[in-house]
């Protein structure tokens, strides 16, 4: 047993209101620079929809993540090491700017400096890449709130359901999916980097790109199945969500989590067994990977685990944080958190509580709380997102959240317990209710601090964010 600590996040999709505050604060903090205008380290997608970049889930096209061969060994879907060295000059699966969107600004100056005219002056859009006038045909969240239904129809997860989802008014459904780098346990981007520039941090599992070592071979971009590594066309290096590590190191949550209006993000530490990661990802069946990942997470209250953690040099603050971790409770104890697309085999460490949705119309008159299968968002659709298509596993998670609601209603207004067996005890359900509904800042974010490094010179780094060459120089 080799224990490592991982800072992990849970997003309760039930409470996501799709306000994009997380995307905006993230953008203002990290990617409002030249070359990074098109990047959203954190973005919010409307589901069903094509996402960002468009059709990022279509791994037939991008070859992201890992596959398991007949020999049971993990291999990158984009090809072997030698195969990919041949792709250094041209990578067929690399997305282009137009797969995201071409960033633009407006000629605001014409509004200010326009002479006297019969017609109102207009600020025309201008590309931030070519600096030329452009016509806007696609942008971030172009299909927000199902705008332009045809985009939603081409959702990869819908296509997998093998049936025509009717966009009848009564049957339409829609939920939001905020996405950021998953800081995976088995990151494909790290494995694909020819330069060894991307690494998983030993102390907290944050996946980072060394801006010094990156050579711009850009193999990480197609390899990440979530398309959360971006190529900066100005610095010519790869960039990604840094999990706001400077904030984490000071005991603060990521800026997206901090500013979440719905307070639906939870951040905490989990311990996992590093020796079993590969086997967990290499499981033969796609549908086993979720369970395998949960099995990797260790109980921080177990004295054996604590002993092993100390032996690995994990500090007391981290052990204490792991024991109080809201993430551990949600994903392991109550098992209501699910990873996004576990079938990509990268073992993501950003988890989602799947969303409940209104009861389908035909039964509204009969019940107050529906079954998981009686809700508007088809369980199979959510299963394609979160459990590699295993609808039973997904329905179980939804049912657990529903059971909690049912229990709280029963607790307040009385009534009979439901007939089906309930997984959790009443105490657990009450605690879950408190965490999901009422929790305060310090319950949602349990982040250890043990900064030993000197902070000298940090102030000089302000506004540079470490992405550009601090001394300027040649290109």
């Amino acid at each position: 047993m080799k224990i490592k600590a991982q800072v992990s996040m849970v997003l309760n999709l039930d409470k996501c209101l799709g306000c994009h505050t997380c995307s905006i604060t993230c953008k203002n903090t990290w990617t409002n620079r030249e070359g990074a205008e098109y990047m959203y380290f954190n973005n919010v997608e409307t589901r069903p929809g094509v996402g960002y970049p468009r059709h990022w889930e279509d791994q037939e096209k991008w070859k992201g993540g890992w596959t398991v061969g007949n020999d049971g060994k993990l291999a990158l879907a984009t090809g072997s090491k030698t195969n990919r060295l041949m792709k250094l000059f041209y990578h067929p699966e690399q997305p282009e700017l137009k797969d995201y969107f071409e960033p633009w600004t407006y000629d605001y100056e014409t509004l200010i400096h326009s002479g006297r005219k019969n017609n109102q002056p207009v600020a025309r859009p201008r590309s931030l890449v070519t600096k030329e006038k452009m016509e806007i045909k696609w942008g971030p969240n172009w299909d927000d709130d199902l705008a332009g239904g045809e985009h939603a129809r081409s959702d990869v997860n819908l296509a997998k359901m093998g049936e025509d989802i009717v966009f009848d008014y009564e049957k339409v459904f829609m939920r939001y999916l905020p996405r950021l780098c998953n800081h995976c346990l088995n990151p494909a981007c790290v494995a694909a980097c020819p330069s060894g520039a991307i690494y998983k941090r030993d102390e907290d599992g944050v996946v980072l790109v060394s801006q010094d070592v990156c050579r711009g071979w850009r193999h990480c971009v197609p390899s990440c199945p979530y398309k959360k590594i971006f190529y900066n066309w100005e610095t010519n290096k790869a960039e990604k969500c840094v999990f706001c590590y400077p904030r984490l190191e000071n005991g603060l949550p990521q800026i997206c989590a901090e500013t979440c209006v719905g307070r639906m993000r939870y951040v905490g530490v989990v311990f996992y067994d590093m020796d079993k990661v590969e086997a967990a990802a290499a499981s033969k069946n796609d549908t086993d990977i979720y369970e395998n990942t949960v099995d990797l997470i260790l109980d921080p209250h177990d004295p054996e685990v604590v002993k092993a953690a100390r032996a690995e040099g994990i500090g007391e603050a981290w052990i204490k944080a792991a024991q109080k971790s809201p993430v551990y409770k949600l994903i392991k104890e109550w098992k209501v958190g699910l990873p996004l697309h576990p079938e990509y085999r990268t073992l993501p460490m950003v988890w989602y509580v799947p969303p409940l949705s209104p009861i389908v119309q035909r039964i509204t008159s009969e019940v107050y709380l529906p079954d998981a299968n009686e809700m508007r968002v088809p369980v199979q659709y959510l299963a394609n997102l979160f459990t590699a298509g295993n609808a039973d596993a997904l329905a179980r998670v939804l049912q657990r959240v529903l059971d909690m609601r049912e229990y709280m209603r029963r607790r307040d207004v009385g009534g009979e317990a439901p007939e089906h067996p309930i997984d959790l005890t009443e105490d657990q359900m009450y605690e879950m209710y408190k965490l999901l509904a009422l929790s305060k800042y310090n319950d949602r974010f349990v982040i250890p601090t043990d900064i030993k490094a000197s902070r000298e010179g940090r102030a000089d780094m302000q506004h540079k964010r470490g992405f550009a060459c601090p001394t300027g120089g040649c290109q």
Partner: protein, 223 residues
């Protein structure tokens, strides 16, 4: 003048090449990159870039054989002057053709695609100029010398090796035709600008990737 061009300039170029590259690596590593532009334009790159790079590798291989290996060595394995010249001419012409084709395609792509203007630096423009000079003079020298009247293996080759051994002998360059002299100057210019340009990426071919485990862990504080 001859002493400066063939006795001093190679060392000046070499110093720029080595010292400049080391300084760039240790102080400016953050902008050491391939400067890939596939993100901005993919379609034309597909043929042009592999063609250019594989052509370039062949051309470099030809130069190593032609310049670094003494005539006596190839004679020892039974390659006479005629055989050598025919081989060098035909193989060189094919490799050169691929290389030039790739180069022209890349040049067309770089200067006619609006997106690419965004990441074309001044140095890139200079590089295209210097490369054009080197390629045109090299190819012209090879083709004009198709008859083989001028043997660079008894003049340029020994001179280059004399420079490498720190005993430069400019007199070897005295009777070299102008087009070859020009070719020599053009590579010296490329060597001088090398550390200030994207060319440095040729030193970071990631062979160590083949030997490395997939997942890399690194401590925050490397003590």
């Amino acid at each position: 003048m001859s002493l400066f061009l063939w006795g001093a300039l190679p060392y000046i170029a070499f110093t720029f090449f080595v010292v400049g590259t080391l300084v760039r690596f240790f102080y400016f590593e953050r902008n050491w990159t391939t400067k890939s532009s596939q993100f901005l334009e993919k379609k034309q790159l597909r043929i042009a870039n592999p063609l250019f790079h594989f052509g370039l590798l062949c051309v470099i291989g030809g130069h190593v054989v032609g310049v670094l290996i003494p005539k006596t060595w190839t004679a020892m394995i039974g390659v006479d002057d005629h055989m050598y010249h025919q081989g060098a001419l035909y193989m060189g012409a094919v490799a050169g053709f691929l290389f030039i084709l790739g180069f022209l395609m890349l040049m067309k792509r770089r200067f006619t695609t609006p997106e690419l203007r965004a990441n074309t630096s001044k140095m890139d423009v200079w590089l295209y100029l210097f490369f054009t000079l080197a390629i045109v003079s090299g190819m012209a020298g090879t083709l004009l010398n198709a008859s083989g009247f001028f043997d660079y293996r008894v003049s340029i080759g020994p001179w280059f090796r004399s420079v490498l051994m720190a005993m430069p002998d400019p007199s070897l360059m005295e009777n070299v035709p102008g087009i070859f002299k020009f070719h020599m100057l053009s590579w010296m210019i490329v060597a001088i600008v090398f550390p200030f340009s994207r060319l440095v990426h040729c030193l970071s071919v990631p062979f160590n990737y083949l030997a490395r485990p997939f997942i890399v862990y690194r401590k925050r504080d490397r003590r």
